[in-house]
């Protein structure tokens, strides 16, 4: 629950920029299907960095965590069950 210091912010920012470079770079290497997975994984990590440190979830109460993840969870429900239909069509 310790409050973030200036150093943390700088480190998080640096990490975000490195990840940006990584995602652009990897996009130009042909890896087949993993390209999509890697791009989405990097986006997930970047979002988590922003949410945990910049948006102070690290110092937040449990309920803020629950609410912060609820939106993404139900979005996955929407995406998942819709794809059950579209992906299993003949």
């Amino acid at each position: 629950m310790s409050a973030a210091t200036l150093k943390t912010y700088v480190l998080v920012y640096a990490a975000l920029i490195v990840l940006l470079a990584a995602t652009v770079g990897i996009a130009y290497i042909d890896l087949g299907t993993p390209n999509v997975a890697i791009a989405l994984a990097i986006a997930t990590i970047k979002s988590l960095l922003v949410m945990i440190w910049f948006m102070h979830l690290k110092e937040a109460e449990h309920i803020d965590w629950v609410f912060a993840s609820a939106g993404f969870f139900f979005l996955l429900v929407l995406l998942g069950l819709t794809f059950v239909d579209f992906a299993s069509r003949p």
Binding site: G71, F74, V77, L78, L81, T82, V84, D85, S88
Partner: protein
């Protein structure tokens, strides 16, 4: 249940005392129109909502009356095809978006939630008022569309009919629903934050009244579901105006995707309608059998699980839509799971009556009636989750009857019961008990006569949204219309005596029902800040000892 003691902040008394008129309450602090239109008081916002939804209820009801009259005979006598289609669209849009969804949360939720928690107001009073304005503006869009010539897509707005083929005022109506969606979001947001942050000292989660639990579940659905319908409506409007191809199969779009997005909200919206009603019923049963609700924890958690599971079952509206067979199987299976928490509630309510001390006041008559009607509505929902049966009765009057048993037999009955129960608190006046019991029985009889024949019609194969129909269905339609006229009368009676009671009703004390709950421990009507002193809660809900 609670004892009101002075909170440990006596320092406040040293401040220059505001001279308080002992008769002052939230209604008589000011009489100006401005004081109402710019109010931050959740109780006044509730009254504003009450006026709004009453207006829309009678508007939607008028459309229903015209439809029922038209359906007396198999052929078209009263209206043209166009007019009939516009009538059922109007009825659906108004009743769903502007009556049932805001009714209980907007009126009883707004009035009671902060008081039941021991708070002075909701967390964001200005947003609360803004919500009412958005609701009314949205309603004005819908009414304007009607006045300008109406809309004929059905409240479901299915593409490509709504985007390409209908020549009516689709956009104005859709924008009406879009704007009022924000009102829903603001209500839900306020309820969630208020419940988390504004509980009085000692008001632990498992001391909260079940009405608050059900409002909490409702708020979750409002916050999670509404944005999806908002953006979907926006895409629909963009497609219609700009000629984009998002849902248009001729341009690579998929109309079935529209149905997925539409029902992702619109199925949980059914739980926005019924969860608050369940909360009211829990309050009424406890108060009029003078008992703690049997299995309080199970009833509380069933509200949350209904809110959660409600998001997983939307595809059961699409069993014959050409969605894949596997999707159909999964949605059917999940739909059965949502039946379980509803069943748990019904069993616990019934068990609550056991060894109670039951009185037959009008609110209790509504509550007992609710159990029967909700039972039928819920069980026929199980029929519709069952794949083989749904293929036959989908889009027939069976579905129409089912959702009216839930939304009207369930929610409207509960809303009326709740309105009677809390009327003395809201207005400070008692309603005439005899008339109220007569009205409750009239509504009950009229409702069943209107909608039970529609189950049979549906199984016989009568499709919904039919202006003319084969003659063999006529007898049941005539029965249904007869019931509707009784039902209509049943709704008008309370309207009359509620207004009458504002001037001539007996004055109510703080607690006319001798009930438990923080709302009965403050004056009737309450003061603007709800409580003279912040209450401190020391007992669980429904701590009846007699």
């Amino acid at each position: 249940m609670t004892t009101i003691t002075t909170a440990e902040g006596d320092a406040a008394r040293d401040l220059p005392a505001v001279v308080v008129d002992p008769d002052e309450n939230y209604l008589n602090t000011s009489y100006t129109v401005k004081s109402w239109l710019l109010t931050h008081d959740h109780k006044r916002v509730a009254i504003l909502y009450l006026l709004g939804i009453t207006l829309f209820f009678f508007l939607g009801g008028a459309a229903a009356v015209l439809m029922r009259l038209e359906l007396l005979t198999p052929q078209a006598d009263l209206t043209s095809h166009e007019t009939y289609n516009k009538l059922f669209t109007l009825h659906g849009v108004i009743m769903v978006f502007f009556f049932i969804i805001p009714a209980v949360p907007g009126v009883l939720g707004n009035f009671l939630l902060p008081i039941m928690l021991g708070a002075r107001d909701v967390a964001f009073p200005r947003l609360n008022l803004l919500g009412w304005y958005l609701f009314m503006i949205g309603g004005c869009f819908a009414i304007a569309a009607m006045v300008a010539g109406g809309v004929d897509t059905g409240w479901t707005f299915y593409t490509p009919y709504s985007t390409t083929y209908s020549n009516t005022h689709v956009i104005a109506t859709a924008l009406g629903a879009f704007i009022s969606g924000f009102a829903s979001v603001l209500t839900g947001l306020n309820f969630l934050v208020t419940t988390h942050r504004m509980r009085a000292p000692g008001m632990k989660w498992f001391r909260m009244p079940l009405f608050v639990w059900s409002m909490y579940g409702t708020a979750i659905i409002m916050v999670l579901g509404t944005p999806v319908i908002s953006i979907t409506i926006l895409l629909l409007a963009a497609e219609r105006v700009l000629g984009l191809g998002i849902f248009d199969p001729a341009r690579g779009g998929d109309p079935v995707l529209f149905q997925h997005l539409f029902w992702f909200y619109s199925h949980p919206a059914v739980y926005i309608m019924i969860l608050p009603a369940m909360g009211i019923i829990s309050e009424l049963l406890a108060a009029f059998s003078r008992k703690r609700i049997f299995g309080y924890g199970f009833v509380a958690f069933s509200s949350l699980s209904i809110a959660f599971l409600g998001f997983l079952v939307w595809g059961h509206h699409m069993f014959v839509s050409s969605q894949s067979v596997y999707a159909g199987l999964i949605f059917s299976l999940l739909s059965f799971f949502v039946a379980i928490p509803s069943a748990i509630k019904v069993f616990n309510w019934t068990a609550t009556l056991y060894k109670g001390s039951i009185s037959y006041d009008a609110p209790m008559l509504y509550a007992l009636g609710f159990i029967g009607l909700f039972l039928i509505g819920g069980l026929t929902g199980v029929f519709l989750s069952t794949l083989g049966i749904d293929v036959h009765v989908h889009d027939t009057y069976f579905v129409v009857a089912h959702f009216h048993y839930i939304a009207v037999g369930g929610t409207v009955m509960a809303f009326l019961g709740g309105l009677h129960y809390w009327w003395p608190k809201i207005t400070g006046r008692l309603y005439p008990e005899v008339w109220a019991r007569v009205a409750a029985l009239t509504v009950y009889l009229g409702f069943n006569l209107t909608f039970f024949p529609q189950f049979i019609l549906g199984y016989m194969g009568m499709p919904r949204r039919y202006h003319v129909y084969p003659p063999e269905f006529q007898v049941l339609h005539v029965l249904s219309t007869a019931g509707a006229s009784i039902l209509g009368a049943g709704y008008l009676i309370p309207m009359v005596y509620f207004i009458w009671s504002l001037w001539y009703g007996k004055k109510a004390g703080p607690n006319p029902w001798n009930a438990k709950g923080l709302e009965w421990q403050t004056k009737s009507p309450p003061i603007t800040r709800n409580f003279e002193e912040t209450p401190i809660v020391t007992e669980e809900a429904y701590a009846y000892a007699d």
